[in-house]
Each structure stands twice: as C-alpha cells, then as structure tokens.
Symmetry: none
Subunit: 451 residues, 2 copies
C-alpha cells in the first residue's frame, strides 16, 4: 500500500468509510491472484522447457501474488481462445506470453483482438520503436515487422524497446490481462521494468522463501521426526519437501507486509528445526554440499583430496565446480582398476584378493593412501558397485563403502543404494561429501557441532 493511499485512508472524514477503504485495499492486496498462459507448440511438444512460466511464477510469488495455475497451450486460435476464456474470469491478473513474433502472423494478437471485440489499428509510437530498433541493428524493416505496429484499438500498449512486439494490456471486469512476447529477455525486461512495478503499487506485502538443505535421512523418516514440530507450525508458514537424489530441501514460505518480520517469523521455526535434526542440516538457501564444504575449508585453511573408484571422479568434479576450489582441493586419484588401487594408493594385492575391491579395508586404505600421497588434511575414498554389472554374492549392485581420512582417524561406512547407476554415483558422492562435512565440523568446531 502506497503512502499516498495510507494518507487517503487516514484523512478520510468518515470512520466507517475509512474502515471500508482499508478493508477493500487490504482484501485486494491479500487476495491478488494471477494465472499464466504460455503459448507455443515448442512447449506442448516438449521441445523446450517452459522457462518463461517458471521465471514469471517466481517473480509474482516474490511480489506476494499467488499464481493459481500455469496453462501451456499450442499455437492454434482455438486453444488460445479457450485458454483466455478459462483464465479471465475470477482472477486479478492474467499474463500471456508467446505468439507475438513476426513469424507466426501474430496469432495471439489477432485472437485477443477478436476475443475483446476490437480491431487492429496502426500505432505510431510502436512503429517508431520498431524502426529505431531496426535502424540500430542496421537491418531493413520487413513487411512482417511493419505489421507489428498494428495493435488492438482497446488495449493499452507498454513499449518494448528491445524487441519488435510491444506488450498489450486488456481490462475485463476486475481482471487485467497482460500479453507479452515469448522471447525470454524481452518478456523479462517488460516484466521487470514495467509490469511488476505497476502490480506492486497495489500490494502491501511480499512472500519470503527460506530453504534448509538436508542430507543423510530419507524423506519419510524426516517427516516422522518433524511431525510434532510440523503440526505446531504457524498456519501462515507453508512448508514443502523437495527431494532430489541424496538431498532433501525443506522450503519455508510466508507472506506479510513487513519482510523483516516475516523473515524473523520463519527464522524462529528454522532455529527449532536446528534443535530437532542438527546433524542432517548442511546449509541454507540453495547452497550445494560442495560449496558448503568449500566455505568450511576456506575457514579452517585445510586441504582436501579424493580417491575414487565407484564415483569415478564425480566427487572431484563436484568439488572443482566451485569457483576458487583450487585453494583447498589438491587433486584426486580415480582408481577404477585394482592395479591403480594397488600402485597409486597402496592397497595391497592381498587385501584386494581376500577382502575384495569393495570392502571396508580397501576403502580405508584408499583414503589413507590418498591423504599420504597428496599431503592433505582430509581425504575421501569411495569403492562400490554402481551397476548394472559387478554384483557378487553378498555384494549386490548399490553396495558402496565410503571412507573419510584425516590426521586423527580413518573412518568408513557401508551404504546400500539402489539399482540405478547414475543415482548410485550421485548418492555416493553426496553422502561422501556429507560425511566429510560432518568430520570437518566435528574436528574444527566441536563446541558448535550438532547444534
């Protein structure tokens, strides 16, 4: 709510009217809802991801506007017509992207022109913008582009200074419909510079998101551990479980007029969460495990190396995906063959013969060997059966031994993952990184560990 509106309410002579205005404004902002329509066969044929919809959903949600749904339809007048009919009734905002380019004879524009019983008229301003754009790029303007200066008579035009199709705004009862080009950078510029600021004027609230990153526990067990706390969660805080291989993201969201208050409101719950499952939380927001470890090692000024069999270099890849990782990551031996386990990491042939390459002994010798070889503070070692082949009696696909070595100790754990090779590699890596993270915290920050 703008200061101007607040003043209006304050200075309204009638207390009753004042209250009514406040309620109206309050309800309007509280209840602002949006629906998104994306037009294009490239989406309904699965040719590209619907990144426009995702981007708009995120921006509207952050602005405190609830997205009721996203509807993706193909490039036919009927489907566009039906989508608009469905969306326009009973909501505040409809945002349409796509179908405004010169290549498909403006199918969205003509469809909207008909839907709103209007006609296309020449718009000098738009024509000037298009001409300027072509001049700046040194291209000649085509007949198709000239056509883009025709807009429905009853729409409000929002100028597009970086593309040939302007945004168009139609009003239908209490609903505003925004039609935007589908070219991502044009759509984003129009949303950011014009449409979002316009919408936010009518809002006095925003939605805050907080994410807690969790590793080392399954979704259902986590839900059980958290059930009491979750039941007691304030109604205005929404919680979502977002699982991905080896990791669960707990996402909090809440809406309010004062962002700081809402943030503190969520933080209070996150502090409680921290006391319930301290060991499983490795970071906040969308930090990756490898970035979290990077932060730790930059703080402790310690170094790291890996000795990888079943993960085949994936852990080293994750670690080196982090900018600046050369400060703490020294290198790795990917010991896929037993010869390399033996020659490079000092796993004795006897151990490999008697205990096997996938064994506690091999894992720990690999970790110790790498630690010594590279003179690092920490070493991760993995050895397991990623699959689909390689299973032996007592060692099914998914059996993985992970060892963490430091100056003070070498500790290893056995894990049983699934039968999917890619997931086994991914889960082995994330699990190994989490074991390392806990070890680093335990050895460097014992007082804060697990709190």
């Amino acid at each position: 709510m703008t200061a101007k509106l607040r003043k209006k309410i304050r200075t309204c002579p009638s207390g009753y009217l004042r209250k009514q205005i406040f309620i109206l404004l309050h309800i309007k902002s509280e209840d602002m809802k949006a629906r998104i329509i994306t037009i294009g066969d490239e989406i309904t044929t699965g040719y590209i991801e619907n990144t426009n919809a995702t981007w708009i959903c995120r921006r509207l949600t952050e602005s405190g506007i609830t997205v009721e749904y996203v509807l993706a339809v193909g490039d036919t007048p009927e489907s566009i017509q039906n989508a608009v009919e469905l969306a326009i009734a009973g909501t505040d905002i409809v945002i349409i992207t796509g179908g405004l380019g010169p290549t498909r004879d403006d199918i969205t524009k003509t469809t909207l022109t008909n839907f709103f019983n209007s006609e296309l008229v020449f718009n000098e301003q738009v024509f000037q913008d298009i001409s300027r754009l072509f001049a700046s790029r040194g291209f000649a303007m085509s007949e198709l582009n000239r056509k883009q200066a025709m807009v429905p008579a009853n729409c409000r035009v929002i100028r597009n200074l970086i593309g040939t199709a302007p945004a168009m705004v139609f009003t239908h009862g209490k609903t505003q419909l925004f039609s935007l080009p589908g070219v991502p950078f044009e759509m984003k510029r129009l949303m950011t510079d014009s449409i979002l600021p316009e919408l936010k004027k009518n809002l006095n609230q925003a939605t805050v998101f907080k994410t807690v990153m969790i590793q080392g526990i399954g979704e259902s067990h986590l839900a059980e551990l958290l059930s009491n706390w979750e039941n007691a969660l304030p109604k205005d805080i929404k919680l979502s479980y977002l699982p991905s291989p080896g990791i669960i993201k707990l996402r909090f969201s809440s809406t309010g007029s004062d962002i700081k208050t809402v943030e503190e409101h969520i933080q209070t719950e996150i502090r409680k969460l921290n006391k319930i499952i301290p060991g499983y939380i490795f970071g906040y927001e969308d930090i990756t495990m490898e970035a979290a470890i990077g932060k730790l090692l930059n703080t402790t000024q310690q170094s790291l190396c890996t000795a990888e069999s079943c993960t085949g270099g994936y852990i080293a890849h994750l670690l080196t995906s982090v900018p600046g990782s050369s400060a703490y990551f020294k290198g790795s031996v990917v010991a896929y063959s037993n010869d390399i386990k033996n020659n490079e990491l000092g796993v004795s042939k006897e151990t490999l013969d008697t205990k096997g390459a996938v064994s506690q002994e091999t894992a720990e010798l690999m970790a110790g060997g790498a630690l010594k070889k590279f003179g690092c503070d920490y070493a991760i070692a993995t050895t397991g059966i990623a699959g689909p082949d390689g299973a032996t009696p007592g060692k099914p696909v998914g059996t993985v031994w992970i060892a963490i070595a430091s100056a003070s100790q070498i500790h290893s754990e056995k894990f049983q993952f699934g039968d999917d090779r890619q997931r086994n590699i991914r889960r082995s890596a994330v699990t190994a990184l989490n074991l390392l993270r806990k070890r680093i915290e335990k050895e460097n920050f014992p007082q804060s560990f697990g709190l």
Copy 2:
C-alpha cells in the same frame, strides 16, 4: 519448406526462428489427445522448472499423441479437483504427476479417491513392493510408507519397483487418467516401461525421430555445409538443429502409419548426410560422446586414462557414467595443484615455472605421464583456466590446452572457450573426448576414417 525459408532458418543466429518454424511445420497425429496436469507448489511458485511436463510432452509427441495442454497447479485439494474436472472431459488421456509421496503436502491420492467416489483400500502387492524396496536399502519401513500401500478401490495399479508410490489408472467414460509420482526417475521409469507401451498399442501412426550427433563444427558453418542437401530434403521430413555446449544434434522427424517405412525414409537422408560431413558425426540417437568412445574401445580392446587439471575429474566422470566402462577405463589423476602435476605426472618444476601450468608443454607432459603411469593405450590431458579467477596476461579465462597421447604420438591443441566456468569445463571435456575419438578412429580404422 521453400529454399528461401530454409535459408532464413539456417542463417538465424540464435536458432530461435529455426525452432519456431520447425515447430509450426511439426505434423501432429489426430488419433489420440492427451492433457497433462502437474501438481506442486514448487512449480506454481517458480521454485523449479517443470521438467516432468516437458519430458512427458516430448515422449507423447514422439509416440504420435497430441498434447492439448499442460496445466500446472499447486498443492491444494481444490486446485487438483478443479484441474481434474477441467481435464477429464473430451480427451483420451490425462496424465497427472506429483503429490503421491509420503509427506503431508502430498494430497493427490485422497483428492482423486474423492473425485472418483472411491475409498482407500489396502493393496498387498503394493505393500510387498514397498517392503522389498526398504529391505533392499536396509531401511526400516515407516508408518507413512505403510500408508502408501492404500490405494483407491476403483483404480488399476501399475507397480513402481523403484519407489514407494505406485501409478494409479482411473477410467472415466472414454478417458483414461494416469496418476504418477513426481519423482522424475520414478515417473520416467513408469512411463517408459508401462504406460507408453500401453498407449502405443492403440495408435495407428507415429512420429519417428532420428538424431545425428555432431561435434567439432559451429552451427552456422554446419548449416552452410548442409545447405544444398537441406534444400533437397523431402517435404515430409522435418529437420532441426539442437545446439548444446560443444555438441550439435541434428534431429529428423517424420510421421506415418508404418514406422519401418518412415525410418527407412529418414535413414536414406542420414546416409547422404554421412557423405557430406563424415568427420563431424560421432554417433546417432542420443548417444553420448563417452558412450561412443566406449563402443570404439570395446571393439579395439584398448584402454584409456585421463590427467585432468581444469576439467577436475569431469572427463573421468563422463567416461565412468557409461555402464561397463571399467573394461577400458583404468583411472585418472586429477592434478589440480602443480605439486601433483610434478610428482604424479612428471611435469618438471622448470616447465611449470617457465611455460606455466596452462601451456602446450604441460598438457603434453601430463598426457605422456598418465599414459606411462597407468600403462594405457590412450591418455587425455587437460589444463586451462576455467574461471572466474586465474587469468594471466595472454591467458584469459577460457584458455584450455588439450593433449591426446597414444603409443605413436602425443598431440595437443589450444582452445579459447568462454568466460562461464561450468560451460568451460563442459566444453573442454566434450572437445577432449572428440579429439580422442578421432584419434582412435584414425589409428584403428584408417580406411574408414573420414568417410
């Protein structure tokens, strides 16, 4: 498509126009129509991309099924109820993903149970599947998971052997509604193994897609080389360029009632293509470069290792992502620090001091050192500046030296990639693998190489 239009498409720098026109000309089967509903606040709040919908759209389109729309709604019973009501009438197939997990934000099952006036009953088969899954992972089964064995009485269950939520099929008039878990790899497995084969039985025509994988040439240069052939392409064959870092996929599609005929029709053109750009084609369908190399080395019975600096183990990871790669891939030294380049790969301190870690000499010594150390037939070495830091005068971010060593020779090339760390790592790896692929072909199949 006219020659003029083809030229327009070819010469479009972004590939955007090309895609639009490809899509416009995309042939759709009128036989069967589908609607997709994805459930989850993570989509409507823009937290994640709706990759499930994109994947399903793609597979249905390839099967000759037309996707009428994708509707993404949030995690409330009302929105799910409304979405199902909207979708169920007047189509053949409705596919719903999401909201079947054990946590409390998962409400699709109860909503569908109410919608289809049914009740939840215990399903012994599902219970057994869940129990087996937990036993295989060595986890205890929770009460929440037991609840997942309850399914609507009037639905047909499709077993999910890799997750705890089964697929459910409801029949409503002539419409079939499939409810699938939202976990991508579970959804994909259920679609691929059960649902798509089931749907294809009822189809009398399908769209055939063939993909040619190309590396080592830019998009516009490729388009020029192919222009004559492309202009002569039969009208019913659609061609599209799908560029991704370091690789271009040429995708052919054509629709017909007899798959074999359509496939042969496309194959004829692929054979012509093979004669025009033999050196650049590394495989067909969505085969990866690493899998193509695996095929070669399995044929030649040769072995491979890597010495990686700027790629940080990513090449080893790609190679070991291929099932059975242990037959030819021995291992790797990830030499992130100069000490490791010196101690493990025999790059002299003098070379590192005078020529630098990112130099032809270092790259070739790394490759030779790894080849000798691991006793392999081939070795790949990479050293470069992935960024954002590390640039030096004359060596900007994106400078990468790649060396390929074999018994007969060590050859290296310098590349200048961009300023994006992740893309530099990715492009370095793909480029290095392609140099290796060409070397293997040249040394083992000289007669067929380049033909």
